[in-house]
């Protein structure tokens, strides 16, 4: 039964045994770890659609061919997949193989996205309004819905199980990881596969541009002169299981998820409360559930979109959360490197934290000029090694969706 739960076994520890990621840095752990560790930047002119009349004309696009490689999908199905679904499959394949899961059934799949197969939705609309013919429309609508992208993922890799799609705007990548953590911790599942993905589409790009949330220049999180975000695209997938499950099969444990907090900021649909009260609540809840205090957290991966409102609000929340220890807290936003990947961001940033914890480095906040005086913490300005056990990652979104994840270095 999904409900009521039989969790008489108590709360369980939850670990990550597979990570897959594709970003504008490329596909795979190695190329992304290198990009984030060295503080590279992958932002350039938009090539996916015409932006000649937009305010902003840049983005962090994935430039490589989204070839799927080994897959169980038919050629026909492959031909129907659009960019976002392809990114999801590429990241998922890497995570699945790294985890070494084989012949599995009934594994819950938790997906996060803000726009799923939006490019197919755009095509569906355009054809309906132009000539109204049915040709190709059924295929478009089938593959537009995110649950179908989950079904394609399961078929491509070879597993089954219930699919849950969470769409909590830009917090959703963290929510899916947190939801998996809750399911395994409570005994609802032994293993959960998680994927978060979003591709840049014309509708979403224009939406952020219309809100004047996009900077015409590459974004500068926590810079006093910041003037907006840069959109990015990508996907991350994580194979998550109980510590007992991982140990029993001798799996390589990449990191541990120790806490998760979610909260809602009812202040405004698109702007956070200036004091970041709900963000603070999510951070505190994640740490409280892990029984970890802020002094133990060696690195914080900020949501850090580089919009004036977000960074000011998040800085206030971080300052309040860290208290007197704020001046020693190391913080960066990796969105300066690959832009804001929306629904994928929280999961990609969790993956970056797992990489950094495992290899003991800190991803720098690229090209910071003058630090916003609201930030009382240490912004990681240069690449470098570090010794730390816990990393906290924040993800906040439209509608006041807030989520924080606490991750621990594998012992």
């Amino acid at each position: 039964m999904l409900f009521p739960l039989n969790n008489s076994g108590g709360l369980r520890r939850v670990v990550v045994t597979g990570v897959g990621v594709i970003t504008p840095f490329g596909r795979g752990w190695a190329s992304n770890a290198q990009g984030f560790r060295e503080g590279k930047r992958a932002i350039g002119p938009v090539s996916l659609f015409d932006v000649s009349t937009n305010r902003s004309r840049i983005a962090a696009e994935i430039r490589e061919d989204l070839e799927l490689g080994e897959t169980r999908l038919s050629r026909r199905t492959q031909g129907r997949l659009e960019r976002a679904a392809r990114m999801l499959l590429i990241a998922s394949r890497e995570a699945w193989e790294q985890a070494g899961w084989r012949g599995e059934t009934r594994i819950p799949l938790i997906l996060g996205t803000t726009s799923g197969g939006m490019t197919l939705g755009q095509e569906f609309y355009s054809q309906l309004m132009q000539d109204g013919t049915r040709r190709g429309q059924a295929g478009r609508i089938m593959h537009y819905v995110p649950q179908r992208q989950g079904q394609d993922l399961q078929q491509a890799i070879g597993f089954d199980g219930p699919i849950t799609v969470i769409a909590n705007a830009c917090a959703t990548g963290a929510n899916v990881v947190g939801h998996a953590w809750e399911m395994i911790r409570s005994g609802q599942a032994e293993r959960v596969f998680v994927g978060a993905y979003d591709a840049i589409s014309q509708l979403v790009y224009t939406g952020f541009d219309a809100l004047q949330a996009l900077s015409p220049n590459p974004c500068r999180p926590f810079d006093a002169q910041r003037d907006g975000l840069t959109l990015g695209e990508g996907a991350a997938a994580l194979a998550i299981e109980s510590m007992e499950s991982a140990r029993s099969r001798g799996a390589d444990i990449l990191g541990e998820i120790t806490g998760y907090g979610a909260s809602t900021d009812p202040h405004h649909l698109t702007q956070p409360h200036p004091e970041g009260l709900a963000a603070l609540s999510a951070m505190e809840l994640a740490c409280r559930r892990a029984k970890v205090t802020p002094e133990n957290v060696g690195y914080l991966n900020a949501h850090g979109t580089a919009t004036p409102h977000n960074d000011r609000s998040e800085a206030a929340a971080i300052n309040a959360w860290a208290g007197e220890g704020a001046s020693n807290l190391k913080v960066s936003s990796t969105k300066g490197s690959i832009g804001h990947t929306l629904g994928a961001a929280g999961a990609i940033e969790a993956a970056v934290c797992i990489m950094a914890l495992r290899e003991q480095w800190l991803p720098p906040n690229v090209e910071i000029g003058e630090l916003d005086p609201a930030a009382r913490f240490q912004l990681v300005g240069k690449p470098g090694s570090a010794s730390f056990e816990y990393a906290l990652t924040n993800s906040f979104g439209f509608g006041g969706a807030n989520a924080s994840l606490l991750l621990r270095r594998a012992a």
């Binding site: 739960l5 609309y125 969470i166 219309a210």
Partner: protein
């Protein structure tokens, strides 16, 4: 005893604004007439049953968040507030919203503006296109800081949402949970549904259950929810529904079955066949109100709870959901008469 109770219900449907109107219509059993949907000169092949205008302007529309909101948000807020009733102190009330089609009116409108000229696309419309805009509005109306999730999927997702809310309550993360499903009509939706179900009556609206740990009023308990069983191809639907049936079967003459089948659907016979041995009374909500995607299963749950309250001879109600393209799942409610 699960210890999780349904403390309120709410609904907006083609039958009107209110759970009582929904239940009355389903009890009566007369199918709502459909009409073609036309937008910007484009008329689709499908037909739809629309939500009528409310008898008076809902008070919640005065909230600043709802000034520009689309029907999906207004339906969701109305059902949520009706389910909440006179409950006060809602700051720790979680919101779980389930959608399949989502904010499709504003998405179509914003994309049309984008194609016309990105430079003049409305910044007021875009935020309302985001999947979680309606659920965010509900939290804002409640001034709640508690978690707020939007789940996307077929009608089965509403029962997954109920289970998630119940889990949050059991872990004492929140004081109460509103689980809502909401959908709005659009030519994109009617066209999409008609590609797969040519005779379908497509409808719109919302349904909500308010869950708490403490029972209030007529005590209806959320007793059990099965695991969702996924399917992809046609051949996988029947075994999925059979597995669900076998894991929740508790039929008796005092148990109500609220089905997701519709006489218009190609899957009608399958669901009828799977539940053929049910000995108690049955209700088929879609037969009256049409296909409202995620809202359909919320209506089923609202009807199940209301029937348990209205009919003292009933002890339990089972809600069976065979979704359009994802999963089969079922839930069971029990009433504890004083």
């Amino acid at each position: 005893m699960s210890g999780i109770y349904v403390c309120g219900i709410g609904a907006v449907s083609p039958a009107g604004w209110g759970a009582d109107k929904l239940s009355d219509a389903v009890e009566k059993g007369s199918k709502f007439p459909g009409e073609p949907v036309k937008v910007d000169g484009v008329q689709t092949t499908g037909i739809a049953a629309r939500v009528p205008a409310p008898p008076s302007r809902p008070a919640f529309l005065a909230h600043p968040r709802l000034r520009r909101s689309s029907p999906i948000s207004q339906f969701a807020v109305a059902a949520a507030l009706e389910a909440l009733g006179q409950q006060t102190g809602t700051q720790n009330t979680a919101v779980i919203l389930c959608v399949m089609s989502g904010s499709v009116n504003y998405s179509r409108r914003f994309y049309a503006e984008t194609l016309r000229d990105p430079a003049t696309a409305s910044p007021l419309v875009f935020p309302e296109t985001v999947f979680n805009a309606p659920s965010s509005h509900i939290s804002a109306v409640l001034n709640s800081n508690a978690p707020n999730y939007t789940l996307v999927g077929d009608a089965g997702m509403y029962l997954v949402g109920l289970a998630l809310g119940a889990q949050w309550l059991q872990e004492e993360l929140v004081d109460g949970v509103l689980v809502i499903a909401s959908e709005e009509m659009d030519i994109l939706t009617t066209t999409a549904v008609s590609l797969f179900e040519r005779r379908a009556l497509v409808s719109e609206g919302s349904g909500a259950l308010y869950l708490r740990r403490e029972p209030t009023g007529a005590v209806v308990e959320l007793e059990a929810i099965t695991q969702p069983i996924s399917f992809v191809g046609r051949a996988e639907r029947e075994p999925a529904l059979l597995e669900v049936r076998d894991s929740i079967l508790n039929g008796s003459t005092r148990s109500l079955l609220v089905e997701s089948r519709s006489d218009d659907s190609q899957w009608n016979r399958l669901e009828t066949e799977v539940w053929r041995d049910w000995s108690g009374p049955r209700l088929a909500v879609k037969n009256v109100l049409g296909e409202a995607l995620s809202a359909s299963s919320a209506w089923q749950c609202v009807c199940a709870v209301e029937q348990l309250r209205r009919r003292p001879e009933l002890q339990r109600a089972t809600v069976s959901v065979l979704g359009l393209n994802q999963q089969a799942i079922a839930a069971r409610f029990a009433v504890h008469h004083e």
